[in-house]
């Protein structure tokens, strides 16, 4: 039993190390403009949000629709904090306002602060809402996300948020260097590292005693309460932690896009993430990650040709034009939802044993045909 467990951990460690190694090698060999890197970076960021949503929806049974709002808080916090003072003082970014933040911080502090800011908002919203039955949470968080988007564009807050204008020239992915040097950090590797650490923390949480309490609440609130689990405290914990990571991923998204604007964080973003979680399987961390990369790869890369006139070598300018990609994309998603009604992974996790069993099954089917 213990030996099996150790082997499992070794295999897991090797697999993860291999992924990071491959990313690093790719980054050193391929041209940085390669579409692959866009997919990898955005896919990793979406994985983190999807896993944070999964912590709430899949493991605690709380249906929240506020993730875009918390990402927005994280993105703004990060951008405002890490923008160099010189930029803040000039009118390159804050053209119509005088920025009131007279300091700047490093990337690490910025990321943590982004998470903490989102967590603080979540804590305050959670106080009234989490005492109610969980249906209200969806409505309240959706409303909050919309309000927060409006507030961040509010003229009065201009000296802080730059109103409805863009924030840029903060420490985005192209501006980060190794500490005390001028050597740029490999971008994809950086995103993978931050997201990897965050997801690891969530996995550790899910497998801890508190994680079991979350699952108990999801399974049966009445029984959980009868076992001495304080519903409110544990729901609030899960909500705040999930929002912390949503905040961090918002900051990463800002770094990836080089600019921040409230418009980027509409409820559409929340639905996108929710769709990824459902496709991956509610209650499966690896499912959320796989679905994120697939989703981003499909929508940003593989189906591009459908909008550009050429797809898989077929030229058909009058069919493959703007908008057709969305149509095909929707059909693919419907097919996935129809054939994998519990998501790609159900509530299981990806493992060596399961993958090899699956390969064997498919292989045998082929032979029979």
């Amino acid at each position: 039993m213990d030996r099996e467990k150790r082997n499992h951990f070794i295999r897991l460690f090797v697999a993860i190390a291999a992924v990071y190694g491959i990313v690093l090698v790719l980054e050193m060999t391929l041209r940085p403009t390669n579409m692959l890197f866009t997919v990898l970076k955005k896919g990793a960021i979406y994985s983190l949000v999807a896993v944070s949503v999964n912590l709430l929806n899949g493991f605690t049974g709380l249906f929240s629709l506020g993730q875009a709002g918390f990402m927005l808080v994280g993105a703004y916090t990060y951008a405002i904090l890490t923008m160099p003072v010189a930029v803040k003082a000039s009118d390159r970014v804050y053209r119509y306002y005088d920025c009131i933040v007279g300091f700047d911080t490093g990337v690490f502090v910025g990321l943590i602060a982004a998470g903490l800011a989102a967590a603080l908002f979540a804590f305050l919203i959670g106080l009234p809402v989490l005492r109610l039955k969980s249906d209200y949470l969806a409505i309240a968080t959706l409303g909050f996300a919309e309000i927060i988007r409006a507030v961040f564009q509010w003229d009065v807050l201009g000296p802080l948020t730059n109103g409805a204008n863009l924030l840029r020239e903060f420490k985005d992915l192209s501006r980060i260097t190794f500490p005390f040097t001028d050597i740029p950090v490999p971008q994809t590797f950086f995103v993978f590292t931050v997201c990897g650490i965050c997801i690891l923390l969530i996995v550790l949480l899910i497998n801890s005693s508190y994680g079991r309490a979350f699952k108990a609440i999801r399974d049966d609130e009445v029984a959980a309460e009868a076992m001495g689990i304080n519903l409110f405290v544990h729901k609030e914990l899960s909500f705040v932690i999930s929002s912390f990571f949503a905040g961090v991923s918002g900051a990463l998204l800002a770094m990836f896009q080089y600019t921040v604007q409230a418009q980027q964080f509409r409820s559409m973003l929340t639905y996108e993430i929710l769709l990824i979680v459902v496709i991956g399987g509610i209650g499966s961390i690896s499912g959320s990650c796989i679905a994120s990369f697939l989703y981003i790869a499909l929508s940003e890369w593989w189906l591009r040709g459908l909008d550009m006139g050429t797809f898989l070598g077929i030229h058909a300018e009058n069919i493959f034009r703007s908008g057709f990609r969305r149509l095909v994309f929707s059909v693919i998603i419907m097919v996935i939802v129809l054939f994998f009604s519990r998501g790609l992974m159900g509530d299981k996790e990806l493992s060596w044993a399961r993958t090899s069993a699956w390969l064997r099954r498919t292989f045998r089917k082929r032979e029979a045909v």
Binding site: L201, L204, L205, S208, S209, Y210, R212, A213, K215, A216, R218, D219, D220, V222, A223, A224, E225, A226, M227, G228, I229, N230, L231, F232, L237, G283, D347
Partner: protein, 281 residues
């Protein structure tokens, strides 16, 4: 012997339905007390009041002499409590703790319609019930700083499961167990909270005669082993008569009889109340 639980004129109303009507009863430390009555008599509702699931419309519930639940909108007190300071029990004070607080006081329960954690294994069901007694905060738990505590919880879980002959089934999904085993598991899970008072809601429901037999001796055993007091709702009369020290009989929310098994058995009102459900007697 000291009072561990006392209900003082507890009334629970749902709209027009008076599910529990002016119920006063008590349980002494070390007793096995049964609460019986026909279907819909209000037995489960009484449990739900004690455990904080429902807020009683009126009345008070005392645990070890202290009011833990209290709702006296009328301000009228039925009785005065010996040894209680007046301000601790003034009519204006409303106590309405959530069920987890009640459990932390030492009252654990099982459910009539089994409520196990569906997605969890047998082992994790019991382990989860130990969470309440965990001292570690979320950070030391997540970073495994408190792994000694986790190890202790796992050990205790193993002991409990072995004790209940559920150890071989530890990796099974809780809901895949046969009915009788699920009820056992619910008791094990309740015991994991280290209660002093155990409330069992129809522990023998769905069990075959042999399992019911075993359950009777089992309840006696755990009572001695964990120095428990047991209050149970049960329809199997032979079980009730065999193991309980005293019995309370509810009908249409009201108490119609109380006493030792012998006294209750010969009570005319009890016989009348059970006429319609003779198959249960």
């Amino acid at each position: 012997m000291s009072r561990i639980l006392e209900l003082d004129s507890v009334t629970m109303q749902f709209g027009g339905v008076v599910a529990v009507n002016d119920l006063s009863m008590h349980v002494d430390e070390g007793e096995i007390v049964a609460l019986i009555g026909p279907n819909g008599a209000g037995k489960t509702t009484a449990f739900n009041c004690i455990t904080g699931v429902y807020e009683p419309t009126n009345g008070a519930i005392l645990y070890k002499g202290n009011a833990i639940i209290q709702n006296h909108p009328s301000g009228k007190m039925k009785r005065l409590y010996a040894g209680l300071e007046p301000d601790k029990f003034s009519s204006s004070k409303v106590l309405n703790p959530t069920p987890d607080k009640i459990t932390k006081l030492g009252i654990a329960r099982t459910f009539q319609n089994i409520r196990l954690f569906r997605s969890m294994t047998v082992f994790d069901n019991v382990l989860t019930a130990m969470h309440m007694r965990m001292n570690a905060g979320i950070f030391s738990d997540v970073f495994r700083i408190s792994h000694a505590e986790e190890a202790r919880m796992r050990e205790e879980t193993e002991v409990l499961l072995r004790r209940q002959s559920l150890w071989e089934l530890r990796d099974e999904l809780a809901t895949s167990l046969p009915y009788g085993k699920q009820r056992r598991l619910e008791i094990a899970r309740a015991l994991a909270t280290k209660p002093q008072l155990l409330l069992l809601d129809e522990p023998a429901a769905g069990m075959n005669p042999q399992e019911t037999q075993e359950l009777a001796s089992f309840i006696h055993e755990i009572k001695d082993e964990y120095s428990l007091t047991v209050l149970m709702i049960e329809h199997h009369m032979d079980l009730v008569m065999r193991i309980s020290d005293r019995i309370y009989v509810l009908d249409f929310g009201s108490l119609i009889a109380e006493g030792t098994p012998k006294e209750v058995q010969s009570d005319q009102r009890v016989i009348d109340a059970y006429l319609g459900v003779a198959e249960n007697v």
